[in-house]
Amino acid sequence: MKALCPVIAAALVGLCVVAPAWAHITPPVVLVSDRDAVVSLLAGARRFFVREVRLTAAEKQTIRQATAWNPEDDFYRFYIGRDDQGRVVAATVFLTEFTIHGPVRVAAALGPDGKVKGATVVELTEETYPWIKPLLDRNFTRDYVGRDARGTFAVSAGGGDSMAQFYGEVVASLIRRAAALYEIAVIKRGDAA
């Protein structure tokens, strides 16, 4: 039995190491499908389009300066809703921030004038969900409706809950990025109509 002690000790050390390794990121929580997010954010649209854009180096630089965000994706996809006459009702884009607790994915809808028409949190993680739930229950993304990329996207979580405040700011920042992206990659190119 004595000779087995090192083996058992090694096993216990191994077990101790496994636990924190798995504690890094909790499983994802998908709150709404992409289709449902698009349908609700483009309410009133009769026809749907996808518009995909690649950013030029200058556009990336402009967005970086405006939002402190580095847009690195190969391309960005907007779901555009139009009415019967072909006029743009709104465009929805999905953006994700990878935090230490896992991804936070948001869908934001922008009007043809570049102002936020609505936004919804699409995906987060089991760990972040309880932190942000009080804000979701309050429908806090409604606060940003009518703001464009130059507007303020402050969050008031209330009650001194720092994690709610932090993740509220992550969501607000994603909505602001969406507004900046739409303004630079669609409106300024003259493609908003």
């Binding site: 191994g14 499908s33 289709r35």
Partner: protein
């Protein structure tokens, strides 16, 4: 191994090994359910979650093109609340799973080293969870960056890990509780 056999362990060590094997089995079952609900268990589902997002418009054909637009129906947009694993999440998943699964494979192997089976069989079985882990995580990266069709490797890797666990658990539990010690 070196005179130690699972069947000869004292009761406390047998209980320890048994509970460890049962606990890992429950964890593996939970992981299986999690994978099936969050991603799916078919190569197509794995491909949909892992493969690089391709443009839906003509940008796909013309790489220099800066924008493209195309009319779609709502049916073209995913209605499943599925997780799409992007590269940063793939990095996070890889490092946690490589550490976690390798350590579990190591601990399973540690128990199995004392099983009373032929050395060649032991060598093969002890390697299965390690090989499964590497195939599983490696398959994720290959699906993303080499070819979506390699999503099959992720399924194969997960199955290999499960097969390794099942063989180790069954043989080890048999040795621990049912195998009779031969008197010399």
């Amino acid at each position: 191994m070196n005179g130690f056999r699972l069947s000869a362990l004292p009761l406390s060590a047998k209980v320890f090994c048994t509970l460890f094997l049962v606990g890992i089995g429950c964890g593996a079952l939970a992981a299986f359910v999690q994978a099936s609900t969050a991603v799916g268990l078919s190569p197509a589902a794995v491909e949909a979650s892992l493969a690089r997002e391709m443009p839906m418009t003509q940008m796909q054909m013309h790489h220099g093109q800066m924008s493209g637009e195309k009319e779609i129906t709502l049916g073209d947009i995913s209605s499943a609340a599925k997780v799409w694993i992007r590269t940063p999440l793939l990095i996070q998943t890889s490092h946690t799973h490589l550490f976690g699964q390798t350590l579990i494979a190591g601990l399973l192997g540690l128990i199995f080293l004392f099983a009373s089976v032929r050395e060649s069989v032991k060598t093969l079985i002890v390697a299965l969870p390690f090989a499964g882990t590497l195939l599983d995580i490696g398959g994720m990266w290959l699906t993303r960056f080499v070819s979506p069709s390699l999503s099959l490797l992720v399924i194969a890797g997960g199955s290999l890990f499960a097969l390794g666990y099942a063989l180790i658990a069954v043989i080890a539990l048999y040795d621990l509780w049912l195998r009779k010690e031969r008197l010399a």
